[in-house]
Each structure stands twice: as structure tokens, then as C-alpha cells.
Symmetry: D2
């Protein structure tokens, strides 16, 4: 399961070196993850409607080449299947014009009950259903 | 009632023109307002503890001279008394090193009940008490 | 001259009150201004290519109703003609779904030589040409 | 070589889950790195004065426990020695009040010539001198 979303670089995204400030890629990943989630029913609002929140427990970014003001980023978000009670995505960001690889990365989320904030050690029912629907497992 | 707080310019605050991006002054004002609020018992957490929220209804900034990376801003926050059910602050930002005026501005907040989100057309009891305590009115 | 651009509210735009943090509207205005500029040849890159920079000297925002996560903002950017050596825009932000007015505001920019940083007290040739082309004046 | 810096959580740092938005930790790391750099002569301005820029090529964050509005973060920045032409830092963020571990992470930077943008495959003279001065190697 892969979804690609477009992000135009904003003036306020760019740092004094005239490239997108490295911290903004975390937001680009989040935009990719949410676009994926909206397509496949796994967005923040979807999980929240099921009394869950899915905080990030790890994020990793490898920066390959810079983005500048005027560029458009293509964020390719890939769902990585794991038996653990986690949501793992891989990300590849490309420069739309040049097709050059800009960055790669990963994010890992866990499931908490939205009220008690208790961690799910096994997949919550919502996610079991989601996997059945989309992955047939 | 005036309070001055110091803010060091961060690398991520600075834009491709090598000056603090103009939108970040809104955050500098908020930092000034919160520092004032912590000193005088009018911070976000203080009002929230009294079942109130105080959303911004207007903000205005006049930019006089730029701040660069390495600079430190002095944010001078002045409480402006009004009989209306509003909190009004004036701000002056100075460059700490040069003493040069960097920006001036204003923010205006209203009171809402934190649960019902209903607007207070007259001062809520918390603010009446606050004014009595600090302004003797 | 009016241009309307769409902005999807991001998770990271939203504050603990579950509404778009007020400072982010400055970025929404900038997005509107840049979308206008790209359409009409007045973007940051256009003016920079003419050895000019156009820093913001004033910004004003009136907040009318909140935006929440999941909402889409429509930013309507209107060019305001003035004989002064300034670029003035008015902004109206609407909630796309409800059509409700979310915020109004203004930004004012001046012209500096991109190298000397000297202020233009009269319209630089680029802007004279631009006005002739688009406004016939 | 370790340096600890304090960061007060800002209202605008906090997300709808009432915790610091995960992307902001990248900024907290940068604040820690810059505070280290200012103490030991390895800040952005120091390297830039030596015709170098040091872009981030990797960043990794493990989130352990959340920070809330009103909290203060302690960012402990540790220089990690490597023979490679890289600057590597480890970070530990603690909640100042509770001493609880909030996050750990790493950043890796390389050296580019600030004009030609060419990569240094071996340590540039500035960094050789820096290591001699501070590490005796």
C-alpha cells in the first residue's frame, strides 16, 4: 500500500541556507501519512473516532539532496506490515521537477486508548478490522 | 504593568533573507504575553484553571527593523486597561545588543467559557478579581 | 485583482484548544499572497529576479471564527491599489465547507534593493511595469 | 563533552493531544546543538565564519514520554567522536521537574564549502583545529 502526495515548498519552510529547514521534513512525513490515512481510513480523525490515539514513538530521516523555494515535493508513503501493535510507514521524498531523491525516512506509531492513555500491547479491534479489510490478514 | 522577556533568535526562526521570518513575531508576542501572565497570574494555565479560554481576536504588527540569527530580542509587554471584557496588550520588541526598536504591536483577547465556548460580554469573575488585585479597580 | 487559494489544515497547525493556532494565519496569508504572485508575476522569486526584496512592514489579522483539523481554508487575496511605493493585500479566509468567514486581514510590503537593502521611496521600474501591464496605470 | 540547555515549552509547541508535537523535538535538538556550539566554538556562525556549512544528513528521535505545556525540557547534548568528516551528537531530553526521560536521539552533519557547496570527504582544517583544541587529538 503506497500513496503519493504533493507538497509545495513554502517561503516559511526555507532556512538561511536557502533550503527547506531539515525539521520541516517531519511535517512533510506527517502530511504524507495523513494523506495515506485519509485514503485508507487510517487518519488521525479515523483512529480518534475509534477512541484511539497513535503517538509517534520513533522517527528517522536521511537527507539526500536539498529542496529549495519554488520546488514541489512528492512524498511517497508506504505502509510496512508488522505483527506488532504498531503502525510503521516508510517515506521517500522526491523533487517533482528533477525526480531526484530528496530524503527517506520512517515513522513508528503505537496505539493508546484516547481516554485512559493506556498502551495497547496487541492490536486494538479497530486495527484488526482495518488489516482484514485492506490487507486480507 | 510592564514585563520584559528575552528571546534568543533560533536558526529555524530565520528566513532566506537572513532575518527573522515576519510570522515568528506572533510567537514572540505570545512568549511576552505568557511571561507577563506567569508573573501576574494571567497565563493560559491560570485562566484555564478558572474554566476560561482567551482566544486572540486581533493581532497587529508593525515591523521597524530586522532581527538576525545571533540576535536576542527583548519583548516588552504592556497591559492596556479597558473597561471592555477584553485583554489588550501592547508589545515593543528591541534588539538587545543595539537597543534598536524592531517591532511594535498589539494583541486583543476575549473570554470564552472553556466548556460551553460561550463569549463573556462582561468581565468574568476571575478577571474582575484579577483587576481588583493588580490594578485596584 | 483577486485570487483564491485552498489550504488544508494540518495536524501541526492546530493548538491545544483544537483550533488553528492564531499565528499560523500569517502563513496562510503568505500562501495566499504567493499564489496571487505566481498567477500575476509578483511572487517572491519574480521580485527577487528583479533585484528586489519586499519585506512585510505591517500585518493585521481579525479572527472571526475558528478552523479545526479536517477543515479546508479558502484564502481570498485582493490587491489594493495605492500610489505609494508599497504592495498592499487584503485577505479573507473562509471555511470551505461552511462558507463561514474565518478571518480578515491586511499585509503591507515595501521595496528594497536586494543588494544594498536601500528602500525605494517611489515605485521601482519593475513595479511601474507591473502596474502598467495588469492595471493599465 | 556534554552541554545541557533548558527549553520552556511554548503554547505553540503543543498539539491537539496537549503534548509537544513530535516534530518540535527536532528544534529542541537544534537548540541543544547550538547551545553546545556557542559554548565550544562550533555554532552555525562559527562554522560559517570559516566558509563552511554543516547540513544535517540524518536525524533520529525516540519518544519516551510526553512533554506538556508548562513543562521545561532539559536537553543534554553529547559530542560523539568519529574519525569520519562528520559531526555527530547524541541528545537526551528530560522533563526538568520530574527528571523523567522524554526523548533520545542523534543528529549527523557533514561539512560543505559554503560557496562551492562541495562536500568535504576528510575533516576541513577548521574542524581539525577544533578537535586538537578541545579533544587533544
Amino acid at each position: 500500500m503506497i500513496h503519493t502526495t504533493e507538497i509545495k515548498v513554502k517561503f516559511s519552510d526555507v532556512d538561511p541556507l536557502h533550503i527547506v529547514w531539515h525539521g520541516n521534513y517531519i511535517r512533510y512525513f506527517e502530511d504524507g501519512r495523513e494523506a495515506f490515512g485519509e485514503k485508507y481510513g487510517l487518519s488521525y480523525l479515523d483512529v480518534f473516532a475509534n477512541n484511539l490515539v497513535t503517538p509517534i514513538v520513533n522517527v528517522n530521516v536521511d537527507y539526500k539532496s536539498p529542496l529549495e523555494y519554488g520546488d514541489t515535493a512528492l512524498v511517497e508513503t508506504t505502509f510496512i506490515e508488522t505483527p506488532a501493535a504498531k503502525i510503521i510507514f516508510n517515506f521517500k521524498i522526491f523533487n517533482k521537477k528533477s525526480n531526484k531523491l530528496v530524503a527517506t525516512g520512517t515513522s513508528t506509531q503505537v496505539f493508546l486508548d484516547s481516554k485512559s492513555k493506556e498502551l495497547f500491547w496487541t492490536n486494538p479491534p479497530f486495527y484488526v478490522e482495518w488489516k482484514k479489510k485492506w490487507l486480507g490478514i
